[in-house]
Symmetry: C2
Subunit: 234 residues, 2 copies
């Protein structure tokens, strides 16, 4: 049995507690970061708060092994006095959407081998894909994740806006969205590229620009140029 | 039995011929657009060439029902003298990647009801999702598709570049990519958004910028601003 404390009220804390409650080998207590007066003792204390609160929260914890769940915060910046680690799940968490933890990559880091093994055991109780990732590697993954997740989702958002302002159901695009994500399991993204930018089809590009708002045009132009540039350098 | 001629040598012509050959109710001949001297007669003649060649190719065709497969070309711009239509498949086609036609939305248009029914019958022989889409609606879908497919794929490409220059395997990001695509089946894109832009987490944003090339920084900044703007206006 591994005893855990989760500190935080956000989406990560919420989904992690749910997963831990289902696992038979984990005991979990979830507490708010605003109420740190009584923190139960635990094998692993998990800080799942926003990045700018991690230092302050970690400074107040007396438990011996403290980890955070952030993609961009260094392990060494934790302010607890004893053992430190990272329990980073490379996935997008929203309260309204269930998480399949068998598809979550767990990116783990600890100061010593024994703690790493403990974190691995914890991750294996709820997941499958476990990686030993340094702080530097994790920061790389986090910024790459902003492109493939946050910015990709924003592309969906713009696509939905365009459909809405022209009375076309956005749902028609879902198979294309799925195929785009699945295609790169087989092809490198640069080889998977299609469309007017990579074809240098300036007539279609100009037709497209005429259908867009000013802000959408700015994004369209910059990404088209970037696609054309990367196509040349490959 | 529906007899068809496909004109073209690109990815769409390639995959469409393959699908038609498998269907028992379709007879298909594929010919190159450079060899239009002998075009066999057919119920439906399908022009699957690049947009800037459609006018020239269609002007040479004497068969009575001619359609094109383009997302951005008007039906009325076809230069054949008789019946016109559109057989647009809203999907990304690469030669190296098999296409599951049961997941392809067929966006059909014809000048008269009878021809529309014929196109629908053809589409149903290889697919499932059939839509009656006007030229204007199709142009909207096509520009939206550039965002959700071409630009999204470019986000994957940049993510892969970032991973490569820091020696982290890009494959770790695949579950996140899949979840990003699947999440919007349940949530609107604007509600599915997470990450430093939507949280206004300027410290993380600045840390990210320090890890990027100049071109990547430009894209990062513009998309971050656009996310923050759309979050305010919702």
């Amino acid at each position: 049995m591994i005893s855990t404390v989760i500190i935080g009220n956000g989406n990560v804390a919420h989904h992690l507690e749910k997963a831990f409650l289902k696992a038979k080998t984990i005991r979990v207590t979830k507490i708010s970061s605003r109420n740190l007066t009584i923190i139960p003792d635990a094998d692993i204390t998990i800080i799942a708060v926003s990045d700018n609160a991690i230092e302050e929260v970690s400074a107040k914890i007396k438990n011996s092994f403290v980890v955070h769940t952030s993609g961009s915060f260094s392990m060494n910046e934790l302010q607890n006095k004893t053992r430190k680690g990272v329990f980073y799940m490379l996935q997008t968490f929203s309260k309204e959407k269930e998480i399949d933890f068998s598809k979550v990559p767990f990116c783990l880091e600890a100061e010593n081998e024994k703690d790493y093994i403990l974190l691995k055991k914890l991750a294996k109780s709820i997941g499958v894909n476990i990686y030993n990732i340094t702080t530097e590697q994790r920061k790389t993954l986090h910024v790459a994740a902003v492109f493939v997740n946050n910015f990709t989702n924003h592309m969906y958002k713009i696509g939905a806006d365009i459909c809405k302002s022209n009375n076309v159901p956005f749902e028609i695009l879902q198979p294309l969205i799925d195929e785009t994500a699945s295609k790169i399991k087989q092809l490198k993204p640069v080889s998977a590229q299609t469309g007017p930018a990579v074809r240098n089809d300036s007539e279609t590009i100009n037709n497209h620009l005429s259908l867009l708002s000013q802000e959408q045009q700015t994004i369209y132009k910059i990404l088209t140029q970037s696609i054309q540039k990367s196509n040349k350098t490959e």
